[in-house]
């Protein structure tokens, strides 16, 4: 087996090194801070930035958990394909439903 093949197999290893505890705690603190910022929009008037701030925070939190806590960023392409296909189809369903009810009803 050549070196490249060995590397590939190491990537497939289910025991591939994950997050260290310290990094996981740092990420959790960042997520907690973002949640606090989200909640603050309920008390503080963000004006025109209200919706964009909430949407950006939601998306950043979502992908932070998926990438680091679920480790998908470091996983094989096949796993990414399986998950993001489902996610893409879910978004597609939303836009189709929205179009059906809003524009064709």
């Amino acid at each position: 087996m050549n070196a490249t093949a060995t590397d590939t197999h190491e990537q497939h290893d289910s025991h591939a090194p994950g997050l260290s505890d310290a990094t996981a705690i740092k990420i959790a603190l960042i997520l907690a801070a973002m949640t606090a910022l989200e909640v603050s929009t309920y008390y503080v008037d963000f004006g025109a930035f209200f919706m964009p701030v909430l949407m950006v925070l939601m998306v950043v939190k979502f992908f932070t958990v998926v990438s680091y806590f679920m480790h998908l960023k470091f996983e094989h392409q096949m796993f990414k394909l399986l998950f993001y296909t489902g996610l893409g189809l879910a978004l597609f369903v939303y836009f189709v439903a929205l179009a059906t009810f809003k524009f064709f009803s």
Binding site: H12, A32, Y42, M78
Partner: protein, 223 residues
């Protein structure tokens, strides 16, 4: 023992998948690193879990879409802004978010083969999840007492269906965590323990990311 007897005995204990496993392992398979060989070199269990989570995206995508379409259909009953308790739900969200951290710590402990810490973090994660579910039951009860039943209007139906489905997922997760803790305590697990903890962790993080979306779209953005 005659040759015929030996053949008969061999046939009795013959299992079709044994042959396949030998063929896969020697000829076409790839070691996944945990002693199992698969034709892709990837763990079949992990692949199944990611496929399942992809399909769960579709389930919650449908429920969230339905809620977004019906959130404004409030013909009778209280409005969400009148009954939602944002500070309470924020604390629940924080609890669920922190349970994701404790789940990561359980996975890293399992990878280090530290059974005691694995059990500890699994228990804490289950307790945080149970706290979240308890908060949801309290919230549903309070909403019902305020006059928002399941069939009060389209908003309430879609709201209870979406958040209820999520609550059921968290409950199933808590049951899985406690079961896994029991299995590890009894040392009755077979196969790769770290991978099993990781797979349940993936499910747990998934219910967390779904709540990240629900918390923003349902609670923080007014209907």
């Amino acid at each position: 023992m005659t040759h015929r007897c030996l053949v008969a005995k061999k046939r009795k204990s013959w299992h079709p998948l044994d042959d396949v496993a030998v063929l896969t392992s020697h000829d076409t398979g790839h070691d996944t690193g945990n002693g199992h060989s698969t034709s892709t070199g990837l763990s079949n269990n992990k692949m199944a879990m990611w496929l399942f989570l992809g399909s769960e995206c579709l389930l919650f995508g449908g429920l969230i879409s339905t809620y977004m379409l019906y959130r404004g259909r409030i013909t009778q009953g209280p409005r969400p802004s009148q009954i939602f308790d944002i500070p309470f739900t924020s604390v629940s969200s924080f609890v669920l978010l922190m349970s994701s951290l404790t789940m990561v710590l359980a996975v890293t402990s399992a990878q280090r083969k530290d059974n005691e810490r694995t059990k500890l973090w699994l228990t804490i994660t289950a307790l945080l999840g149970a706290t979240f579910v308890g908060g949801q039951v309290y919230e549903f009860t309070a909403f019902y007492n305020e006059g928002l039943g399941f069939t009060t209007n389209l908003f309430s139906s879609s709201f209870y269906t979406l958040t209820g489905f999520h609550g059921v997922h968290v409950t199933v997760g808590v049951i899985m965590l406690l079961s896994l803790r029991g299995i590890i305590s009894a040392n009755k697990d077979t196969g790769d323990r770290a991978e099993v903890v990781e797979l349940i962790g993936l499910y747990w993080h998934f219910v967390d990311i779904v709540w990240i979306i629900i918390f923003t779209l349902v609670y923080l953005i007014p209907a």
